[in-house]
């Protein structure tokens, strides 16, 4: 777990988006936590949407969560795929896709595990928990 100190008045912004992408490329799903109100934050930003603080720490997600909703996108000449909203156990929600299982078999409430897809850019995809 790394911690970013609160910005001073003169400090120049480092891109929260690039920090997220760079971590993902190294196999880490990052989210943020507000050092003042302790709430989790995603996607990355520079001001806490819960309390307005600028003291945000970067945190590493354990990558375990639950399918909050899912839709199967049908394509004419290619396999269909799932587009899901995943609720991570740390308390943030992100869009993703569940791979390694037929898109139609992905269900709301299923437990899922992070399976970062390398590539340019890397993608934070998920697989159904316990699936080999």
């Amino acid at each position: 777990m790394t911690t970013t100190p609160a910005s001073s008045v003169d400090e120049r912004l480092a891109s929260p988006h690039l920090a997220y992408r760079e971590a993902l490329a190294e196999g880490v799903l990052r989210y943020q936590r507000c050092s003042d109100c302790r709430q989790t934050i995603f996607p990355p930003r520079v001001v806490c949407p819960h309390c307005g603080s600028v003291a945000l720490s970067a945190e590493r997600s354990e990558g375990r969560g639950e399918v909050y909703s899912t839709t199967v996108v049908t394509q004419r000449d290619q396999p269909s795929y799932s587009v899901c909203l995943i609720d991570l156990d740390e308390g943030f929600r992100m869009m993703s896709t569940v791979t390694g299982s037929p898109a139609e078999s992905v269900a709301i409430g299923q437990r899922v595990t992070l399976a970062i897809e390398t590539g340019d850019p890397a993608r934070a995809t998920f697989v159904i928990e316990g699936a080999s």
Binding site: T71, V73, T74, T97
Partner: protein, 389 residues
């Protein structure tokens, strides 16, 4: 403060442009201009009378500048607020505020789009617009269908809402469209037709999704003290409310509850009315889940009961709560940002000039716009003079 705005402004002119598939080369600005000229004529005014301009035009980032130049309007109040399909109901609210402050005297709200001609296909299958940074587009949601599909899937999971109930929304819209000569799709459909279509983004097939058409619309708004000068009965803005809680669907706090709970509460509070006072509801039905969510969130039924509520013809012609009496975005017209058409149809119903689809004794009508991915919600309560005092 809100009591000051109740009934302070009135819509005195409305019109659509050509709809459906327009002639080759006709632009979005042409359509907005055509609708504007027609709406001003409906109000007994001309472009020379307009001093407040409110618009969003397909493909334009500075819409009021485009329309001001094109129409020769040197407005002293200008508002290009772009919050998707909710923009125009928002413009109606903003126009009432500007008129009340005497920042302008005659407000013109207008919209035009050639979405169908531009796509050449008329299907909702375009790529997601990759605004950067973006934390969704890499997962391939079909925009805008998949965001609404995720909400529908969650509503089905939590409340047992069925595909048949979603289909009832599309069937009712088509029944209304059958009564509207301007509607794009008028041939009757059944629940089985809707469910039988191939999936686009589950649980939606093509008939769960709005049309892609060309089209434009316009409305003219003035202060109540001069609303009686026009040729048509004024339709008063009794209440208006706006709300947005998120932009991206992944950041919507609860996919089964929209910010309509706030926008509608604000609009009803200003109007001093409740859902039981409403005679017709014109709302943005981009997808079949929308009316279910919005009717729940406005308080026409309890959360989770929307699927049951829209079934059995309740919102169809002859039903107890007529919804989208023009056929809606599902069957009448949907150029991409439908909100202006909720105002136009609400005004026509209150005036009693909706011909075959006219609902009896309409005094109070809702116009409700939705923008983004169930993101921005704006509600307006419109009424005849009967409900004013």
């Amino acid at each position: 403060m809100s009591a000051d705005l109740r009934g302070a402004a009135a819509v005195i002119g409305v019109a659509e442009s050509d709809l459906g598939q327009v002639e080759p080369g006709v632009t979005a600005v042409d359509l907005a201009a055509q609708a504007s000229a027609r709406a001003l004529s409906d109000a007994g005014l001309t472009t020379r009378d307009v001093d407040g301009l409110f618009c969003v035009i397909g493909g334009k980032l500075m819409s009021t500048l485009d329309m001001g130049e094109y129409l020769g309007i040197r407005s002293r109040y200008t508002d290009s607020t772009m919050i998707g399909g909710s923009a125009f109901v928002s413009h109606l609210h903003h126009a009432a505020l500007a008129l009340a402050a005497h920042a302008c005297d005659v407000a013109l709200i207008t919209y035009g789009s050639t979405a169908r001609s531009d796509s050449g296909r008329g299907r909702l299958s375009g790529p997601a617009q990759p605004e950067q940074p973006n934390y969704e587009v890499e997962f391939g949601p079909r925009s805008p269908v998949s965001g609404y599909a995720l909400a529908a899937a969650r509503h089905m999971h939590e409340y047992g809402t069925t595909r048949e109930q979603l289909a009832e929304v599309a069937v009712a819209a088509r029944q209304w469209a059958g009564l509207n000569p301007k509607a794009f799709k008028r041939e009757p459909i059944t629940v089985e037709d809707v469910i039988g279509r191939p999936m686009i983004s589950s649980p939606f097939g093509s008939l769960d999704c709005c049309l892609v058409t060309d089209g434009g619309g316009a409305a003219v708004v003035v202060r109540a003290d001069r609303a009686g000068d026009g040729p048509k009965p004024p339709v008063y803005l009794l209440g208006a409310g706006e709300a947005h809680w998120h932009k991206s669907i992944s950041q919507m706090p609860d996919l089964t509850t929209t910010a309509t709970v706030d926008s509608a509460a604000r609009a009803f509070a200003m109007a001093g009315l409740t859902p039981t006072d409403v005679d017709v509801v014109e709302l943005y039905d981009a997808f079949t889940i929308n009316p279910i969510l919005f009717l729940e969130d406005m308080g026409f039924c309890a959360k989770g009961e929307g699927g049951e509520f829209v079934s059995g013809g309740r919102i169809a012609p002859g039903g107890s709560l007529p919804v989208n009496t023009n056929g809606g975005g599902l069957s009448y017209c949907h150029p991409g940002m439908y909100g202006i058409f909720t105002i136009i149809e609400a005004v026509r119903q209150v005036r009693g000039e909706a011909s075959d689809r006219q609902v009896d004794n309409v005094n109070v009508a809702i116009a409700h716009g939705n923008g983004g991915q169930l993101s921005s919600q704006v509600t307006a309560v419109l009424s005849s003079r009967n409900t004013l005092s």
